[in-house]
């Protein structure tokens, strides 16, 4: 029986989640594939931050799903199903990353990305010291017009969002996936990635600012999507 998971776009809630769990335990393939479609792309991206290449990340995702299925009897619903799945993939990816001695550890990536200056908006968009309004917009943001959220759901723009997420530095990508795409509370993101709350916020901010910049030309009409 095919199941549509939370069509409203809301996060999983209790009863729905219990239904999915029951279907999984009963071996329902459609329910499993629905869950895979929903989470595997983000899992793949997170895994990719810890391991060398896409093929290894795919292995990690596969191992994680097996871990999820084998863990089902013990899953007590103390975290959301989604939260639990992401914790498993991060743990598998970390183990694998350590085992294959990835040349740059995640903590070093994160440190490098937070310590380097990385302005949200190009400095030349603001007036310089000799101008009438120094440090204020010289070149204001061009409005995104009516209902940008609807235009963002067009197939073309969705693939732009995806490409922009892929192009993010690895630590920023992991943080924005866990926080904004998967919807985890900041504290859970800190725990999953072993980062301080301040660093998570800095990485999140930098990721969001880059994604806004990436979408801007399509929404201002400067480039036809």
């Amino acid at each position: 029986m095919p199941v549509r998971l939370d069509e409203s776009g809301e996060r999983y809630s209790g009863p729905d989640e219990n239904k999915i769990l029951a279907l999984l335990r009963a071996g329902d393939e459609a329910a499993f594939l629905d869950l895979v479609d929903r989470h595997a792309p983000a899992m793949q991206k997170i895994a990719r931050a810890y391991v060398r290449d896409d093929a290894t990340a795919e292995d990690v995702v596969q191992e994680a799903w097996l871990g999820v299925l084998r863990g089902l009897p013990a899953f007590e619903g103390r975290s959301s199903l989604r939260g639990w799945i992401f914790t498993i993939v991060v743990n598998r990816a970390k183990t694998r990353g350590v085992r294959e001695a990835r040349s740059v550890p995640f903590s070093a990536l994160a440190r490098d990305e937070t310590e380097r200056p990385d302005p949200s908006v190009a400095a030349d968009r603001f007036a310089g010291p000799g101008e009438p309004w120094p440090r204020h917009w010289r070149d204001e943001p061009v409005p995104w017009g009516d209902r940008p959220e609807e235009r963002l759901l067009s197939r073309e723009l969705r693939s732009r969002i995806d490409a922009a997420i892929d192009a993010l530095p690895a630590a920023q990508r992991s943080v924005v996936i866990l926080r904004d795409i998967a919807g985890h509370p900041t504290q859970d993101v800190c725990n999953a990635l072993d980062l301080s709350e301040t660093n998570v916020r800095v990485l999140l901010h930098r990721a969001r600012a880059k994604l806004r910049r990436a979408l801007d030309p399509y929404l201002t009409g400067e480039v036809l999507a």
């Binding site: 776009g9 393939e29 929903r38 995104w144």
Partner: protein, 81 residues
């Protein structure tokens, strides 16, 4: 407290959304917004960007190894008592 400049405001939007700014800083930011169309639009765009990411239908990419994962599921099913 000195006024907030646009170049600084764009660096604290996440702290503002996440509710981690001190009340005085929030007041300063909101006072700035009341008088600045550029920053008001910027903040709106940051909010739209963030909210779009949270929509489950925002991703268009196919799940990697969907077929392989189905095999994993079938193998797991087979090992169930």
């Amino acid at each position: 407290m000195p006024d907030l400049d646009c170049i600084d405001l764009v660096e604290i939007t996440t702290d503002y959304f996440e509710g981690t700014l001190a009340p005085a800083a929030v007041a300063r930011l909101e006072a700035h917004l009341a008088e600045c169309d550029g920053c008001t639009e910027y903040l709106r765009q940051m909010r739209v960007t963030q909210e779009t990411l949270g929509r489950p239908d925002a991703a268009v990419i196919p799940a990697p190894g969907r077929e392989r994962l189905l095999q994993v599921f079938r193998a797991w099913k087979a090992e169930q008592p």
